[in-house]
């Protein structure tokens, strides 16, 4: 446990709970379908987790700081579509790292808009991001375009073809690990380093714990908050462009609607809405569980139409258990 400060809390941590549920899920799935536990399933799972994982890490940083962001899917799709359009219009052969940088830049810009309203106008984060969710989406579909683009810049298609490893199992099924897995890894390492090893990261936790205390010990609350939303915007831009490249289509209607699943993953992983809590391990476990539910619910015998109910119940359980425990602890403390 990277973050386990208190071994005695191990069994009651969200991470342990979620890991247990994942294990149980896999066990049940393997029992009902022996082919479930294969390299192919694992690589499918990994590929499905990349975009959600990057978005979830961004959302986690916001939750740690005591805010909530529901606009990141709109940021992602906006950045993806705009970057693709710019690349096609300016330089269709633009190398993919440049397109990616462009998308992250656009995402960071949109994040800055959120940051401006939240850090400097001090508006409630939910209301601001609910508003910007529709502003970004509305702006994209009204002024930028509402056509799907399947004729992507060739470099984006090259990116989606790149694999780190590929092969065929003995049973004859095909597996591959795409380049985009590296992007997720980079985001994990960068965010881990920032949160755990830099003053900035500790400030984010401090703000989430108590804004007033953070301010009094000399943390610049406003600029830290502003930075958080810019960072989340950039991550969303990255997730968006990966989604577009891997799906080989820039679809302005995609992604929006995914925000609830991403937030579900983050809160399952133990991040709390009141701020100050949240670990990358937990968030990634949450992502794995949500992706499992989204893709393999049928394997354990639950029909797909119950997917919403399952995710909703998981959110309630994942947030309810720690909240109830905190409430009991507070009541005991008087």
């Amino acid at each position: 446990m990277l973050t386990g400060l208190l071994p005695k809390g191990f069994w009651t941590r969200n991470e342990t709970l979620v890991a247990g549920v994942i294990l149980a899920f896999c066990l049940m799935a393997t029992l009902s379908d022996p082919l479930f536990f294969t390299v192919t399933t694992l690589s499918d799972l990994l590929r499905a987790s990349i975009v959600i994982g990057i978005l979830a890490i961004g959302a986690m940083v916001v939750l740690i700081s005591g805010g909530i962001d529901v606009s990141f899917t709109a940021v992602a799709v906006f950045a993806m579509y705009v970057a693709t359009r710019i690349a096609l219009a300016v330089w269709p052969d633009m190398p993919w790292p440049m397109i990616f940088a462009l998308a992250m830049f656009v995402g960071a810009g949109l994040g800055a808009i959120n940051g401006l309203f939240i850090a400097f106008f001090k508006l409630p984060t939910l209301i601001v991001t609910l508003g910007t969710l529709s502003v970004f989406r509305g702006f994209l579909l009204t002024f930028v375009g509402s056509q799907r683009i399947s004729d992507l810049p060739p470099e984006m298609r090259d990116f989606s073809r790149g694999v780190l490893a590929r092969g065929t199992t003995e049973a004859g099924s095909f597996y591959s690990i795409p380049w985009s897995a590296l992007a997720l890894l980079a985001v994990i390492v960068l965010t881990w380093f920032m949160l755990k090893k830099t003053m900035l990261g500790r400030s984010i936790y401090a703000i989430g714990g108590s804004q007033e205390s953070a301010r009094r010990i000399g943390i610049n609350v406003q600029w830290t908050q502003f930075f958080i939303y810019v960072y989340v915007g950039a991550l969303a831009g990255l997730a968006g462009i990966i989604h577009g490249s891997v799906g080989r289509m820039a679809d302005p209607f995609s992604l929006v609607g995914l925000e609830l699943s991403v937030l579900a993953a983050v809160v399952l992983g133990g991040a709390r809405l009141i701020g100050g809590y949240g670990t990358i391990t937990g968030t990634l476990l949450g992502v794995v569980l949500i992706v499992l539910v989204q893709t393999n619910l049928i394997v354990i015998g639950i029909p797909t139409i119950w997917q919403s109910v399952t995710i909703g119940l998981l959110i309630l359980l994942g947030t309810g258990v720690p909240a109830y425990r905190a409430k009991r602890a507070a009541a005991r403390a008087g």
């Binding site: 106008f121 409630p124 209301i127 601001v128 139409i305 919403s308 119940l313 909240a323």
Partner: protein, 338 residues
């Protein structure tokens, strides 16, 4: 200014006065931009039919916001209860049934959907009050569950084929007044009386303004929160039935844009999302402004996407005005950071 609902400030300095000006201004603007169509009697009637469904959701949002909470499950509750009512109607009330029998089944369906609304509200209230979940997460999760139930019950497709009396609820006029408008007026009046004339309303306002003070004043907070979310759930189910009647069908994903709209209207109406302040008259004026804007934009052939853009921008703009333009509305929880 922050003295609560009983000490009404002078008429012109009340925040609601600004809203009145906004509503009149939007109306005048649209009347100038599209005079013959916007001012027509036909448009007036169609507007009166359109807004009650989301206005009722906004009322549900208002009462939860008064306590510093929020109900993100309103649309989920509305669809869940509408689907339940619709399934009762399609199973038992054949379209060929006589008016008397159809009316009886309609009342049963109405009661069932109200009951669903109450149960959903009770679930939300329990999660918030007894389990200590933040209202945002509790209602976000429960909203998914309610929508999920509606999906599971219908397989994701629309339920239709009702007896004719069902259309009455959403499309008929009573003494020249559209029925949904009457429903909205009754619920708005009910909420207004509840908030300003009862001990319950005082407790809600008090808790929203200062939860700790309410606790020390021996308010039974859990009980009050349960009631608040039950009321919100039942209001949502009424909205669901109106939507069902107007669409002549029920589906798990109807009215998905109404959530943003309900939050927007409540905030635009001057309800403080941190709790403690909110007046029904403000919400009504906000609803009217939104409907004038929406109909007007429609006539100017602005696309749905552009409307979404305008609504979102308006939400943020109004929040800036409310938090920075009106010191009296500044929340108690936001001031310590100053």
């Amino acid at each position: 200014m922050s003295g609560g609902p009983h000490r009404a400030p002078g008429f012109t300095e009340a925040p609601e006065f600004k809203l009145l000006i906004i509503a009149v201004a939007v109306f005048a603007l649209m009347a100038v931009l599209a005079p013959d169509r916007f001012l027509s009697a036909q448009n007036m009637t169609s507007m009166a039919f359109q807004f009650p469904e989301f206005a009722i959701l906004a009322l549900a949002m208002t009462i939860t916001m008064m306590t510093g909470g929020i109900d993100l499950s309103v649309v989920g509750v509305a669809n869940f209860s509408a689907v339940t009512g619709a399934l009762i109607l399609t199973t038992f009330a054949d379209p060929g049934l006589g008016t008397g029998d159809s009316l009886m089944w309609l009342s049963i369906a109405l009661l069932a959907s109200l009951a669903i609304g109450a149960v959903c509200g009770l679930a939300n209230g329990t999660l918030v009050a007894h389990f200590g979940l933040p209202p945002i997460l509790a209602t976000l999760g429960s909203g998914l569950v309610f929508t999920g139930f509606a999906i599971a019950m219908t397989g994701g497709s629309a339920v239709m084929g009702f007896p004719n009396v069902v259309a009455w609820l959403g499309n008929e006029q009573l003494f020249g007044v559209p029925v949904p408008l009457i429903l909205f007026a009754v619920l708005a009046l009910l909420l207004h009386v509840l908030l300003t004339r009862t001990a319950f309303g005082l407790r809600v306002t008090m808790y929203g303004a200062n939860p700790l003070a309410a606790l020390y004043a021996a308010v039974d907070i859990n009980r009050m929160i349960l009631k608040v979310y039950v009321i919100a759930g039942m209001f949502s189910s009424v909205a669901g039935m109106v939507i069902m009647s107007r669409a002549n069908s029920a589906k798990a994903d109807y009215g998905s844009s109404y959530l943003l709209l309900a939050v927007l209207i409540a905030v635009l109406g001057g309800v403080n999302p941190y709790g403690g302040y909110g007046r029904v008259i403000g919400v009504i004026l906000a609803v009217l402004s939104m409907q004038f804007l929406s109909s007007g934009l429609n006539m100017l052939q602005v696309s749905n996407f552009a409307r979404e853009l305008i609504w979102g921008a308006l939400l943020i703009f109004v929040m800036i005005i409310n938090t920075h333009g009106l010191p009296g509305l500044k929340s108690l929880k936001a001031t310590p950071s100053k």
